[in-house]
């Protein structure tokens, strides 16, 4: 265990910035991860509005460009980057996207962006958002370093070899300490809001209908979700020369009706309630069947930033309460 004095934080950021691009939560219009060169730019008071998935899996990217039948792939490896102050939920979210995009066949675009990233976590002593429920999800330690805040310093827990190496490289900023983590340093209190993740029995529960009455199909929930990974692929051509262009991948959303539209105009999940149920089932059940963990990490963004505040956690809890099948 190491210790990082708060007054030493700025020196650490300056040292890091010598080798890495340092990205940390900064308050702009909202809190979002941006490049920083000074510790005073960093805002650790709330979780970032936009998750960090965009740095590894951007909203839009070119898979290849073409000219006639000539195809070129624009993969460029991202340089060394440190993500500073990532919450436990978002760290797990990155791990969950890794499971999807780094299993065979690997997504080479994702791998090139993800490869040289160091993740420094920041433990939430309080829920970072009124709707978060990470305590109900089975989160793991998947950071390189984790910072646990104390009044004058941070306790620094090493989570990986890469993290240990980083501390060694920048050892002048860290001190060894015998202080141990307390149980509450591994979990956020009052974040156990979802009563169960065993929802298979609720598939035909009428609450899916009532719960979704106000859904606008705006896809804010999936766009701001740190784990949602679905996408579509579209071709673009240059307006002056139709033989030149590119094939792009961009984010999609299961909340849109078009998501399952096939030739002949048949839509497999037409009612909003089915699309809503699909999202929650994918987050909780379907992903777990394949990868062994729930995809959802309990960050609560899909509830907080839903324009009509559809609170699926309360909806599922109501199903448990009603005892209906």
């Amino acid at each position: 265990m190491y210790k990082l004095e708060k007054k030493e934080l700025n020196n650490l950021i300056v040292s890091l910035a010598g080798t890495y691009q340092v990205l940390a939560p900064v308050r702009t219009d909202v809190v979002r991860f941006q490049e920083v060169s000074d510790a005073s730019d960093i805002d650790l008071t709330e979780n970032s509005y936009v998750p960090i998935k965009q740095f590894f899996y951007p909203q839009q990217e070119t898979l290849f460009t073409f000219s006639g039948n000539e195809v070129k792939v624009p993969i460029k490896e991202a340089g060394p980057r440190v993500f500073f102050g990532v919450r436990r939920c978002d760290l797990n979210a990155v791990a969950h996207q890794d499971l999807v995009y780094l299993e065979e066949p690997k997504n080479p675009y994702y791998e090139a962006r993800r490869k040289n990233a160091v993740l420094i976590g920041y433990h939430c002593a309080q829920p970072a958002n009124p709707n978060c429920f990470c305590g109900s999800m089975d989160l793991k330690d998947c950071q390189d370093l984790m910072l646990v805040e104390r009044p004058d310093y941070f306790l620094v827990e090493v989570g990986s070899e890469q993290g240990e190496k980083l501390v060694q490289q920048l050892s002048k900023h860290f001190q060894k300490t015998d202080e141990a983590l307390r149980p509450e340093d591994k979990k956020t209190p009052d974040a156990e809001k979802l009563v169960t993740t065993d929802i298979a029995r609720f598939y035909n529960n009428p609450e899916w209908e009532t719960g979704v009455k106000w859904c606008l199909s705006c896809a804010a929930c999936t766009t701001l979700c740190p784990t949602c990974y679905c996408h579509e692929i579209q071709d673009q051509v240059e307006s002056g020369d139709l033989t030149k262009g590119c094939r792009d991948r961009c984010w999609s959303s299961c909340q849109l009706k078009e998501f399952t539209r096939v030739a002949g105009d048949f839509v497999f999940r037409e009612p909003r309630s089915e699309r809503f149920r699909f999202r929650i089932y994918h987050q909780i059940e379907y992903y777990r069947e394949r990868y062994g963990v729930t995809m959802c990490v309990g960050c609560g963004r899909c509830i907080s930033y839903c324009p009509t505040k559809i609170d699926w956690v309360s909806i599922v809890n109501r199903m448990v309460g009603n005892g209906k099948k």
């Binding site: 690997k106 089932y281 379907y286």
Partner: protein
């Protein structure tokens, strides 16, 4: 980057033939020896227009046959391809039909409309491996006599299996001793071979539902019936999520599913 390491990169292939079968349907023969199992599919694309998943209508031949219906931007553009043009291919993808598990048993094939393309792949396979199967019964349904697909193969299929054809209506004329009605009605009206049987279905959702029910009513168990599903898909490798049916990915876990795997979602 090597194509094999980047699943999104398609490879150019020359069109050998574009055969118009009906006003909306055409058959593309592509100049590439292709190793695939019956029931698998490829992603075919035209650069600048886009990509579409199309089931493979051939199996283990020195060319690749795709049967395509013009329903969207990509398929309409493909319909205009001429011999010598390049199209782009990646794949094959998907699991294919359980041809191994079906060995030593009777086979019932039921297809409707474009679904016959996927069953054509099974027929190719059976022609080469006829001795591995007992009785083979191939039910094919078309809308009418003008919408017949792969009609030029029916006589060849009849050399090694029973082919029963239904037309939704005989108003446009008849062919191949077809009966009038849905293919599911034909299945219901036909005496099925005795003994252990595996059924493989491909076609529009309603056709598979009714034909599957007909087979179950006639005594087949759910574990004996397989259906080939069609969904919107982009990546074909289990990440874009458009093709999910419950927790299953049509592109990776399917497109062929056992009846009981999907019951909750498709019935």
């Amino acid at each position: 980057m090597e194509r094999s390491k980047n699943v999104y990169l398609p490879e150019p292939v020359k069109v050998l033939e574009n055969l118009r079968e009906t006003t909306e349907n055409f058959r593309l023969t592509l100049d590439i020896p292709f190793k695939n199992a019956p029931g698998q599919f490829v992603q075919i694309s035209l650069l600048g227009i886009g990509e579409a998943p199309i089931s493979i209508a051939s199996c283990g031949r020195d060319t690749l046959t795709l049967h395509i219906r013009e329903v969207g931007t990509v398929t309409r553009a493909l319909g205009r391809c001429k011999p010598g043009d390049s199209v782009f291919i990646r794949g094959p993808y998907g699991n294919g039909y359980p041809m191994k598990e079906a060995e030593g048993r009777n086979l019932i094939l039921v297809s409707g409309g474009c679904g016959v393309a996927s069953v054509k792949g099974i027929c190719d396979y059976i022609e080469k491996n006829r001795s591995k199967y007992r009785e083979v019964l191939n039910f094919v349904g078309y809308r009418n006599s003008k919408e017949v697909l792969f009609g030029d193969f029916v006589e060849q299929w009849r050399q090694c299996m029973d082919v029963l054809i239904s037309l939704d209506t005989l108003k446009e004329g008849t062919c191949f001793n077809a009966s009038e009605g849905f293919v599911s009605d034909l299945v219901r009206a036909t005496e099925l071979p005795a003994g252990d049987t595996v059924a493989m279905l491909c076609g529009p959702p309603i056709m598979m539902k009714l034909s599957g029910k007909a087979l179950l009513d006639k005594g087949l168990r759910e574990e004996q019936v397989y259906v080939s599903e069609e969904r919107l898909m982009y990546c074909a490798t289990g990440t874009c999520c458009h093709c999910m049916i419950g927790s299953k990915f049509t592109c990776k876990d399917g497109p062929v599913f056992r009846w009981d795997e999907l019951k909750e979602h498709t019935q």
